[in-house]
């Protein structure tokens, strides 16, 4: 686990110096929120769709983050150096996942605030725990899937469009569950708090499944060719 933390620290340090999240991804995500509002053009409709739109914007923005996370590895074959050293592939995966998780969490916070400000969504004090838990588990799930599929397309030609095609269908359960749980936290008419927690449980199952799969598959994916 110590190695994973070192990898995570390295990724976050690179991110901190480049500030890609701040100058590109977060503005893009907020722009998506604005564009949704423009396209739907109806305040009650936007408010009803707010939770789904937040997570849709999260999915699109997470692709940019993941892409970046692997570009820094495959440029100059940096990841080969990591793996030929004593770092376990699973540890590299977990480290990169942790770094992505931290960034996605920041992004999710921004987007939820964006929904509150732009869409007029409200979160009651009694729903705050649900919202935080759901966001944590969804960001975890998204970082596990993103890092895994980022590794699948790493170093491939045309990888940006490929990543979207491969990763987005897999995140369908996450999109459904995170949207419903957030909807419950936003005080929806149709989904009560109990179902919100049920959806959060599904998010945790999703995250555990793909974290395990990613840790198991990372070595095979990153193996260099003789």
């Amino acid at each position: 686990m110590r190695q994973a933390l070192v990898v995570a620290r390295k990724d976050l340090l690179i991110e901190w110096r480049a500030r890609l999240l701040l100058v590109r991804v977060a503005p893009f995500a907020l722009l998506v929120l604005v564009l949704f509002a423009v396209a739907l053009d109806s305040e009650p409709l936007i408010l009803r769709a707010a939770a789904g739109l937040v997570w849709l914007a999260m999915l699109f923005s997470s692709l940019m983050l993941v892409q970046r996370s692997f570009d820094v590895e495959t440029d100059d074959g940096a990841v080969d150096v990591l793996l030929t050293g004593t770092v376990e592939p699973a540890q590299v995966y977990l480290g990169k996942m942790l770094a992505a998780f931290a960034q996605l969490l920041a992004l999710a916070t921004t987007l939820v605030l964006g929904a509150v400000v732009l869409y007029g969504a409200t979160v009651g004090a009694d729903h705050l725990v649900l919202l935080v838990t759901a966001t944590l588990s969804a960001a975890w799930g998204l970082s596990s899937v993103g890092t895994l599929y980022g590794a699948v397309v790493a170093n491939m030609s045309g990888r940006d469009s490929l990543l979207a095609l491969l990763a987005l269908p897999v995140t369908a359960p996450l999109l459904i569950a995170a949207s419903r749980a957030t909807e419950a936290a936003f005080g929806s008419q149709t989904i009560d708090t109990a179902s919100g927690w049920a959806w959060t449980a599904l998010l945790v199952v999703f995250a555990v499944t793909f974290t395990a799969a990613g840790a198991a598959a990372f070595g095979t994916l990153m193996e260099s060719d003789a």
Binding site: M156, P173, I176, A177, I191, E223
Partner: protein, 258 residues
């Protein structure tokens, strides 16, 4: 590269410079597929009765159900072959080729199942699409395998392609139950009024059942036939790539000698 050229000799009959992917076995399967398909066509259109409620549109079933069945069979084949190829990856690429061939054929049949299904839905439900769990899961499976084929189509080292696509195929096995479960949960929360009978249950008499069964057999034979040919074609392509490389190396050697 020796592994690819080695397995190529077993793939197809290579005689006098021409290579075919047919063997006696595939010809028998092909002939059987043609005969049974002809029977299914005749029976589906002329022998089986129209349904009391659905009328003639029930006849779509004889193509739709076998196509959907083959699509799922193909993806199971791909997953199993991918698993084997990951475990025995230092030997040959044979299982990887089977996985790829089966996924290609599977996408084709799943496309057929989706198209015939939505045509039938238009006639029976009045809409092309319903967000029912089975349909939604199938659609996601389709998109997932389109992505899988996109990865396979990228030119790269065959060993690396085999590894990546095998991992992808196994991940799809994880993904699909999760998608299905979440869609079931999603739909059960806001179930809208279903149009007519959502399952489209049809009472099948013996002739209908036999025709449906024949359709499944015919499509299965077509699937096996296509996968065998496609897989041998891939082996020949790999062999050609290897041969081209060896020829180029030999040429360079000749240059240095001269």
């Amino acid at each position: 590269m020796t592994s690819t050229t080695g397995s190529a000799t077993s793939a197809g009959n290579t005689s006098a410079g021409t290579a075919t992917t047919g063997t006696l076995f595939t010809r028998i399967i092909g002939a059987a597929a043609i005969i049974i398909t002809a029977w299914v066509v005749v029976s589906a259109f002329f022998i089986t009765p129209a349904d009391v409620q659905q009328g003639d549109s029930v006849r779509i079933m004889y193509a739709h159900v076998p196509a959907a069945w083959i699509a799922y069979l193909a993806f199971i084949t791909t997953a199993v072959a991918s698993g084997i190829s990951l475990v025995r990856r230092h030997r040959t690429l044979g299982f990887d080729r089977v996985a790829g061939a089966s996924a290609e054929v599977g996408v084709l049949f799943m496309g057929l199942a989706l198209i015939t299904g939505s045509l039938w839905g238009r006639l029976t439900w009045g809409t092309f699409w319903q967000w029912d769990p089975r349909l939604t899961t199938t659609l996601f499976l389709f998109v997932t395998y389109v992505g899988y084929l996109a990865v396979r189509s990228i030119d790269t080292n065959p060993q690396r392609r085999a590894r990546r696509s095998a991992v992808l195929a196994l991940l799809a096995v994880l993904e699909i139950p999760l998608v299905h479960f979440s869609v079931v949960l999603w739909r059960s929360l806001h179930q809208e009024a279903s149009v007519l009978n959502p399952d489209g249950d049809v009472r099948l008499d013996d002739v209908m059942l036999f025709t449906l069964f024949s359709g499944v057999v015919a499509f299965t034979l077509i699937f096996v036939w296509l996968v065998m040919h496609r897989q041998r074609l891939a082996a020949l392509q790999d062999a050609q790539l290897g041969a081209g490389l060896e020829a180029a190396i030999a040429m360079r050697r000749a240059e240095t000698v001269a």
